[in-house]
Amino acid sequence: MNNHNIYKPIKAKVLEVIEESPTIKTFVLKPENHFTFHTGQFVELVVDGVGEAPFTPSSSPLVKDRIDITVMRTGYLTQRLHQLKGGETVGIRGPYGRGYPLEKLYDREVLVLGGGCGFAPLRSLLYNLQAEQERIKKVTFCYGSKNPRECIYEPYIEELRSIPKFEVMRTVDEADESWTEEVGVATVLLDKIDVHIDDSVAVVVGPPIMMKFSVQKLLEMGYPETSIYLSMEKNMSCGLGKCGHCMMGEYFVCKDGPVFRYDEIKDKPDIWK
């Protein structure tokens, strides 16, 4: 057993803060030490003296010298994070948990369904799939947001649309006059996609209510439970499978997840809460 302290973060400098929407910012971090992660794994981001919270990086896992973390302002810690201007030092612990099962996506049509800030962890996956596109048959990315102002990563959407194997569809709950894409909740996009379900795997990340109805719709469409992957959001204090806050049935979401196949968790209590 080595003497590594599992609770000790490594320091990282905030290189840049990017405003993605009125409520969402991306923090570009440069870790002081070597730091790698598998797409879909998460880190605990530490604000010195304030607290720490789990976030899944939104950058490519193949980029080794920096890490992007996209944060929606929702509570005390994220409020403090949003006050950072760049140049500050934060801490990161991890990476933790089980990420997206890339090996299950190879040679398949991948349906990626994201809602709101759920695009953040999915951007990391999309970067990874983009880099390995010769191993993927096709990627259909469906993204739903509250309104056009909350649609994030606009430049990346354009980049994805330029890749032949990638199809991008977007919807907003409330459109304005500038919006030319779909209107309605994220699941409306599923009526319009062109995928061979038998040869497809779906990855869903978003607010619990969006994931619930998306899974319901995917099952109706004929996706088997074993072909749907979800990244679960739970209160993960330690990230190590010890503190107990993220228990979902016998699973520690932080260690056994956060990415689960639907059939693994469908009978666990309160998965959508």
Partner: protein, 334 residues
């Protein structure tokens, strides 16, 4: 090698006075209503109690204190001897070790605390009202996770070594005391006492479902019984605080990237709440039910060790007078 050693209580107490210079010693002291571990000075030695079940505080607090800075892993200058540890608390160390010393993420602070402790287990020669360790397969005398067993009978101390640490402690004491070997009759008397207490526990807890059966009952129960029994719960978390196997915690930041671990409890409101507002355990009866699912259903699925040792402390600590065994008997009989 495991071996019995005996000495008179008088000589034992003189030995302890010598050990105080070498070790930090904690032992149970009785206060008239309950006993608890105290840091022992020379004047406390005559007040140490022997063979009484369960100090008020479970053993876990030596390994997982209520609050502890987890950034410091420095070993303490002296080893500590923890005396009077009942079998139920030693059994609880199994699941703690599984959680905190696992290969994926070994907790260096827990390991430091564990390594720095010499555990002296005790046979229980009496039982308390809510003791039910045997229902869950635990004997009222130490079988594992300790270094030395200690019993007092007829003003004679009986020690039995269980580990290298235990042997080392005996060697340290041999510098200033002389041990005897017990007679066969003396050993038999100890074994008879064990049997007597075990039979008493079995008799007192007749009808109470065992650990596996309890899990089945909890898993297949309806919602109403949890609503009924949680009516007097005030979410104080006492049940989790004094439980020898409850070890949930919250990490809190301190300036300078310091980190403090606070013991937490799933009975507190907001235990599972996320920043966006979702809170699966918001209803009181769900928090209450969660505790039992965790102990009797989920932890057994996840770990090899049991997550309730039948110590009964949660029943004694509950200010809402909730008796889990009454709940289980009701489940078993409906």
């Amino acid at each position: 090698m495991n071996k019995y050693y005996t000495l008179s209580r008088h000589d034992w107490e003189k030995s302890l006075a010598n050990l105080i210079n070498q070790f930090v010693i904690y032992a149970p002291v009785y206060y008239g209503e309950q006993q608890d571990y105290e840091l022992i000075g020379e004047s406390d030695i005559p007040h140490i109690v022997y063979n009484r079940p369960k100090p008020a505080t479970p053993l876990k607090t030596f390994f997982l204190p209520v609050e502890e800075n987890v950034m410091s892993t420095k070993a303490p200058p002296k080893q500590r001897i923890i005396m009077g540890v009942p079998s139920c608390d030693l059994a609880a160390a199994n699941i703690q070790d599984e959680m905190y010393l696992n290969r994926d993420f070994a907790d260096p602070v827990y390991k430091r605390n564990r390594d720095a402790s010499i555990l002296v287990g005790t046979d229980c020669h009496t039982i308390e009202e809510h003791c039910h360790c045997t229902t869950y397969g635990i004997k009222p005398y130490p079988e594992f996770n300790h270094d030395l067993t200690l019993s007092l009978m007829d003003e004679t101390i009986y020690l039995y070594t269980h580990s290298e640490k235990g042997n080392s402690l005996i060697q340290a004491m041999e510098k200033f005391t002389h041990f005897h070997e017990p007679t066969e009759n003396e050993i038999q008397a100890l074994l008879d006492k064990r049997k007597e207490v075990e039979e008493l526990l079995n008799h007192n807890n007749q009808g109470l479902p065992d650990y596996r059966k309890t899990g089945e009952l909890v898993q297949h129960s309806g919602r109403e019984i949890w609503k009924k029994y949680s009516q007097t719960c005030v979410s104080c978390g006492a049940c989790a605080t004094i439980c020898p196997t409850c070890t949930c915690f919250l990490l809190m930041e301190r300036p300078g990237f310091e980190k403090v671990r606070h013991l937490d409890a799933c009975q507190y409101p907001g235990f599972e709440k996320v920043a966006a507002g979702e809170d699966p355990l918001r209803p009181l009866h769900k928090r209450f039910y969660n505790r039992y699912m965790c102990k009797y259903v989920w932890k057994p699925q996840k770990f090899d060790s049991i997550a309730c040792t039948g110590c009964g402390r949660c029943i004694e600590a509950c200010i809402g007078s909730i008796n889990k065994n009454e709940l289980f008997l009701e489940l078993a009989n409906t």
